[in-house]
């Protein structure tokens, strides 16, 4: 069973992401509403993929990404950034910090599903 952590301060957005990915076999979802909560969830249970918003309260998504990549226990966990920031500078910065994929909102469910399948090795 693979676990996907969905980190976004919007509960509606989190539900949309989970709904978009619900057809994935043998996958469970855990949610976080802030950067701190996302890091806490990572520390409590193994996670196979993080779908990470950038603009979150307390700790910004980029800070979460940097924290994840700097900690041995999480350094190799795939991170898919899901954000409204569609500019190339933000995309490049996230990829340079170690994000594995960068998707923008509004997203097409099929495209998100395709990205996640790839990152979970389900292609």
């Amino acid at each position: 069973m693979k676990r996907v952590l969905v980190a976004d301060d919007s509960p509606t957005l989190r539900r949309m992401v989970v709904a978009s990915l619900s057809s994935l076999p043998d996958v469970t979802f855990t949610e976080a509403s802030s950067g701190l909560e996302a890091i806490e969830r990572l520390s409590l249970e193994p996670v196979d993929l993080i779908v990470l918003d950038l603009n979150m309260p307390d700790v910004h998504g980029m800070e979460v990404l940097r924290f994840v990549r700097s900690h041995k226990a999480f350094a190799t966990v795939p991170v898919l950034i899901l954000t409204t920031r569609g500019d190339e500078e933000s995309r490049s910065a996230a990829l340079e910090e170690g994000a594995n994929a960068y998707c923008t909102k509004p997203f097409k469910p099929a495209l998100l599903l395709q990205h996640v399948r790839g990152l979970l090795g389900m292609e």
Binding site: D9, S10, P11, T12, L13, R15, M16, A19, S34, L36, E37, I39, E40, L42, S43, L44, E45, N55, M56, P57, D58, V59, H60, M62, E63, R66, F67, S70, H71, K72, A73, T84, E97, K105, P106, F107
Partner: protein, 232 residues
């Protein structure tokens, strides 16, 4: 409405928008009190920015491009304030008030299935305050830092200033460290509940993660209390 993207989430969308708009209405009133001052409340500006950012993202997800576009302009003005490129002026606050009201009207129109209002005047008003040149030195509104690289997340400059100011005023500054565990979480003690508890006891200035000596995640909370308050 049934053919809109994520149409099954429209009730969630309207409910969450109302929560954001209620917070925005309160926040804009607070911001109005600081109009024209040299120092702006970065926490308030950051919160307003994130709320408009969320409204933009959610509106885009359900296909309400007019609401998305309006939220984008509101977000842009807040970004300018956040980055010190604009001041909180009476004109800016007025634009926020008008923009928030327009946001409420657009969302209500979608909820009722009615025609949405013409947003061009309010969009122009928002673009005007966003682009308005500022007189004098930039206001001391620190950026919402995204943090330098490193294993832990550092305090932001405005957080450091706030803690220093509290200490200078004779208030107590506490550092509370919390190591999460499955056992504590099962007992209901986690970063969210601890944060809520600490906020009851004083002013929570920052909550940051770092990697402890044992290699695990630790959270450090920076709490300011009155001099006579007991330890948290």
């Amino acid at each position: 409405m049934g053919n809109a993207p994520f149409s099954e989430f429209l009730d969630d969308y309207f409910a969450e928008c109302e929560e954001h708009l209620a917070a925005v209405r309160r926040g804009v009133l607070d911001l109005e009190a600081s109009a024209g001052q040299a120092h702006t409340d970065s926490g308030l500006i950051n919160d307003l920015f994130r709320r408009f950012h969320s409204l933009k993202g959610l509106s885009g997800m359900v296909g309400f491009e007019d609401a998305e576009g309006l939220a984008h302009e509101l977000e842009n003005y807040l970004r300018s304030l956040r980055e010190g490129k604009a001041r909180v002026t009476p004109a800016g606050v007025d634009a926020l008030i008008v923009g928030t009201r327009a946001m409420e009207q657009v969302i209500a129109a979608h909820r009722e299935g009615q025609g949405t209002p013409n947003l061009e005047p309010v969009l122009a008003q928002l673009r005007g305050v966003t682009a308005a040149p500022i007189d004098g030195p930039p206001p001391s509104s620190p950026q919402a830092a995204e943090g330098p690289s490193g294993g832990g997340v550092p305090l932001k400059p405005d957080q450091e200033r706030e803690l220093a100011a509290a200490a200078a005023q004779g208030r107590k500054v506490w550092k509370v460290e919390f190591t999460p565990s499955q056992e504590l979480n099962a007992r209901g003690l986690n970063v969210n509940t601890l944060r809520a508890e600490l906020q009851q006891q004083g002013q929570l200035v920052a909550a940051l993660p770092f990697i402890g000596a044992g290699g695990g995640v630790v959270f450090r909370f920076f709490l300011v209390t009155d001099p006579a308050a007991p330890p948290p």
